[in-house]
Amino acid sequence: MRTYFSLNSHHVSMSACSIHEITILPGHDKHGNPEQFDRIVIRPGDTISIVGPTGSGKTAFINDIEVFAQNDTATGRTILVNGEIPAEEFIRDPSKKPIALITQNTKCLADMTVEAFLAMHVRARRITEPDIVPETIELANQFTGEQIHKNCRITSLSGGQTRSLMVADAILISNAPLILLDEVENAGIFRERVIEVLKEHCKSVIFVTHDPLVSLLSERRIVMKQGGVEKILMPEGREVHIRDMVTRLDLTLCRFRERIRAGELLTEQGFPV
C-alpha cells in the first residue's frame, strides 16, 4: 500500500484513484441454492485465485465483476464499488470501467511494432506521460525471459511475450485498479514477478487458475462448485512449506525449459534446484 502513490501517482487516472474497495455480495448456484458467504471485499494489492473444476462457474464469477452485476446476471450476484452501488458511468461507459480482463482467448491482432501499438493505446487514453511506452516495454521484459524489443512486430511475439506485454499495458497504460486474468498461466510468464509487480503498483488481481504456483501465491482462494462459491480459503501461512517447494519445482522446470530450448541434453543433474 505504501508504494501506491510513490510508484504510480504520475499516471493514476481519476477512476483508479477513487476506487478503494470492490465488494461481491452473494447470489446463488446453478440449482438456485444461495451462496454461503456474507461478502467478499477486494482492496488494492489483493491477490485472489478462483479455483474449481471446468463448468463450476469460475469465468461467470469474474464476468460478474467485469460487468458490475446488480442481481441481473444468471448468478444473482451484486457488485459494489466503495461499498455502494456503482455510479451509472462506471457501468455504462466502458472507458470509465476500472477493470482490465485478459483471458486465454485474448490476442493482439494489430500488425504493428510494439512501440507503435503502445503509442496508439497511449493516444487513445490521452496520456501525456512521455516515457510511458519505454516504461511499459521495460516492465513487460520483467515478466518474460525472451526480450521484447520496441521494434518487434506484435504479431511475431511469442505467447509469453504477448501476455507479458498485455499485463504490463494493463498495469501502466490502462491503469486499471483491478485486473482479471483468466487462465493465462500456460503462456510461460514469470508468474511470481507478475504478482510482485501487481502488488507494488497496488493493483488487485483475480486469477482464474488451475496452476498450483499461482494458487499458492494468492492470499485468498475462492473455491467454486456448481456455479456458486463453495468456500473461501485463507491459508495464512499454513501452506508456506508447500508453496516454497512448488516455487522450487517451478524454477527447476523453468530452467529445464530454457536448456531444452538451448538445445541441450538434460543428462546432468539439476534437480531439484
Binding site: 464476468n63 467485469e66 460487468v67 466502458p94 480482463l101 491482432l109 496508439m120 487513445a124 498485455m166 486499471a176
Partner: protein, 235 residues
C-alpha cells in the same frame, strides 16, 4: 410496437445480438423478426425454430439490400403489427457500409466486431454515426489496448453514441442494450417514419447493368480519379 433496426458488417454478430434480445424478452414480449439479405439467409428459419417467433426474410437479389429494406419496411411494420407484436426486429444484410438503414421512431443498433481491425469504425461513417447504440462484439478476443482503441475510434465517428462491449455468444454486458430497448417508446405514427440520413447516390448506369469500367463509358453521375473530391457532378 417497438421497432429495432440492426445493422453492421457481415459476420459482426448481428444475429448473435438478435438472439440475446429475443432470449431476454421471451415470455414477457411478443417478438417478430425480419431479415433482409441478398441471395441466401437462414436467420429466419433458425430463430423461428429456436424461439417459435414469427420470422420472415426477403431477398434483394439484383437490388441494393438497404434499398430493398426501405421499400418493404412499411409493409413489414404492418405485418408485425397485425400479429400483435410488442417488438419488431429488422436485421439488415450488412454490406457496403455506405448506407444507414436506421429510421425515426426506432432504436438503431450497429453491431461491430472488435476483431475487424481498429480503423474499421472510421471507414463506416453513417452506419455508425446515425445509430443510437454501438454493440461491439468479440471483445473477449482482443487485447485491452485494442478494445480501448476500437472504442475511441467508434466515438470519433459518433461522439454521443452508447457503446456496449460484449461477447454476444455469452451475452455479457448486454444489460444496457436491454434497458435501452425497454425504455424505447412504441412507434407513435408509422406513416411519418423517415430514414434518418440521406442514402448515397445510386441511380446510375452501373446500377442498371452497364458493365464497362471507366467514367468515359458511363453517363449520369460520374467521377474521375483526380480533381474530384466528395462533390459529384452530373455529366
Amino acid at each position: 410496437m417497438k421497432l429495432l433496426i440492426i445493422a453492421g458488417p457481415p459476420s459482426a454478430g448481428k444475429t448473435a445480438v438478435t438472439r440475446q434480445i429475443i432470449r431476454h424478452f421471451t415470455g414477457t414480449k411478443k417478438i417478430a423478426f425480419l431479415k433482409i439479405d441478398v441471395v441466401r439467409a437462414f436467420e429466419d428459419e433458425e430463430l423461428r425454430q429456436e424461439f417459435g417467433i414469427p420470422a420472415k426474410k426477403i431477398y434483394s437479389g439484383d437490388l441494393c439490400p438497404d434499398h430493398t429494406g426501405i421499400m418493404v419496411l412499411q409493409d413489414a411494420i404492418d405485418w408485425a403489427e397485425s400479429l400483435g407484436s410488442d417488438i419488431f426486429i429488422v436485421e439488415s444484410a450488412g454490406l457496403c457500409l455506405r448506407c444507414s438503414p436506421y429510421v425515426t421512431q426506432s432504436l438503431g443498433i450497429v453491431v461491430l466486431s472488435a476483431v475487424s481491425g481498429m480503423n474499421s469504425p472510421l471507414k463506416m461513417g453513417p452506419m455508425i454515426a446515425l445509430a443510437d447504440v454501438a454493440v461491439i462484439t468479440k471483445t473477449d478476443l482482443v487485447s485491452q489496448s485494442e478494445k480501448e482503441v476500437f472504442r475511441e475510434k467508434t466515438k470519433e465517428v459518433a461522439p454521443s453514441i452508447d457503446i456496449i462491449e460484449t461477447n454476444a455468444i455469452q451475452g455479457t454486458g448486454l444489460r444496457y442494450l436491454m434497458r435501452s430497448i425497454e425504455a424505447l417508446p412504441d412507434i407513435a405514427d408509422r406513416k411519418s417514419i423517415m430514414l434518418r440520413g440521406v442514402p448515397p447516390l445510386g441511380v446510375c448506369t452501373i446500377c442498371v447493368g452497364k458493365r464497362e469500367i471507366g467514367w468515359q463509358n458511363h453517363f449520369g453521375v460520374i467521377r474521375k480519379l483526380d480533381h474530384a473530391d466528395d462533390l459529384f457532378r452530373g455529366d
